[in-house]
Symmetry: C2
């Protein structure tokens, strides 16, 4: 199975891309809705939770792990790779950075995400590993998550919030913008309008799915271990009434959430 | 000590009222920031967390407990009173309802809060215990919390969100509105403007502080047990960089947060 974990329901945007690009494999999802969000928590707490989430997915039979949550990818991925040596662990930052670096023409990149992601500087650090000469401007957009969860993806108030958050990035003449939070692809249209057509939006969910596709083509011994069926399992540490409705709306299919306390 | 717990930092608005109305007593606060917010979690999860929070405060020496969080007050207070018999446990719902019922003239009341609070119908049920004939209109306002935490308490976007959320309540000709979430007093001004001067806003934080004042005047044996000094203790299950700054802004004084994992 392909294991995917997230701080909550936002990781379903990653599930959607995995279903699109890797439709043959069985998936197991864990959303830590009892402790969501991770984005406003400290580094040590996020690492602790990410280790628990990974253990849970491995116990369920996952052979590869996707860290869907940007906050966890930003602060916990290195520690996960250390603790679970031998398990292929994919995070959403690296593939997004590779894409952004490949498409930018003026080397001026923007990154939006939660406070944990933007203040960790992980995108900046990864981009600078490629080569120098990139200018990276980041901006935390904490209201985008509750706006997406309200379903206000095309409301005037969302446009106003987007304008407020993206104003500075627009002034900085960036040509590429990384959507550094799982919820943000849900606001893609408004973000694209506010940034203008000349700016390429990079969706880490799509990039990580593509990266795993390439990885599995090269690593047949791992690929063989993955179950091929569509009996996907969706676990959540808390099931609130709103969950199934949002999952349906975002994923375009009805899921049967299973409660599991970590 | 007076023990106060909340799902996070919102309960500091209750601390503020307790400091104002009961300045002589030592306080111990626990904010469950590692698992915040409670408002989007299920009833059984909120009860589990509320029991852990209460135990923690009692271990620290609290002799009375205030449940600052409306979501926990709504779904967990009865269970807490059962499990911790003999400990005076105060929640924020009852005093707010008593006040609202006392001030309304047209018996048309509004309640705003998180999804957990409004969908629990606890305010409706408590109001109806007084007598029949009240009309109660409730509305979940999930964006008010992140707007308050952004510090956007007087921004146009907050006015727009307030207008959107409060429109229906305004049409319903209510004359009293309960601010059923700890963060909402921070947006009191905008809410008052949008609702109009004719609507009385009820702040549960103020009402619970007043209720405890009356309780202690009558229950001297409990009053005697409370330490009288200003060495207040502030515990949080997670300390993010943003916390101290927000606490200072909301409380008007600098606190030294202590990390404690439940």
């Amino acid at each position: 199975m392909i294991g995917i974990f997230d701080s909550g329901i936002g990781g379903l945007t990653v599930v959607k891309e995995v279903l699109k690009h890797l439709p043959e494999y069985q998936m197991v999802y864990f959303g830590d809705t009892a402790r969501t969000p991770y984005g406003n928590k400290s580094k040590s707490t996020i690492i602790k939770y990410a280790i628990q989430d990974t253990k849970f997915l491995l116990d369920k039979g996952a052979k590869i792990i996707i860290v869907a949550c940007n906050s966890a990818s930003a602060v916990a991925a290195e520690e996960l790779k250390r603790q679970f040596e031998g398990v292929p662990i994919f995070e959403v930052i690296t593939p997004a950075v590779n894409k952004a670096v490949a498409v930018t023409k003026n080397k001026r990149l923007g990154v939006i995400g939660t406070r944990a992601t933007t203040s960790s500087n992980v995108y900046q650090d990864k981009i600078k590993q490629h080569q120098n000469g990139y200018t990276i401007i980041s901006k935390a957009c904490p209201l985008f998550v509750p706006l997406a969860e309200e379903g206000w993806t095309d409301k005037p108030v969302t446009k106003m919030v987007a304008k407020k958050y993206l104003y500075h990035l627009k002034l900085q003449n960036i040509d590429t913008l990384i959507l550094g939070c799982t919820h943000y692809p849900l606001l893609k249209e408004i973000i694209q309008i506010k940034m203008g057509k000349q700016v390429t939006l990079v969706d880490p969910a799509e990039e990580v799915a593509q990266e795993i596709k390439k990885y599995l083509a090269k690593n047949k011994e791992i690929e063989k271990k993955l179950a091929k069926n569509s009996n996907h399992e969706f676990y959540f540490s808390d099931i609130a009434p709103h969950l199934t409705e949002l999952a349906h709306k975002w994923l375009g299919q009805i899921i049967t959430p299973i409660q599991f306390n970590l």
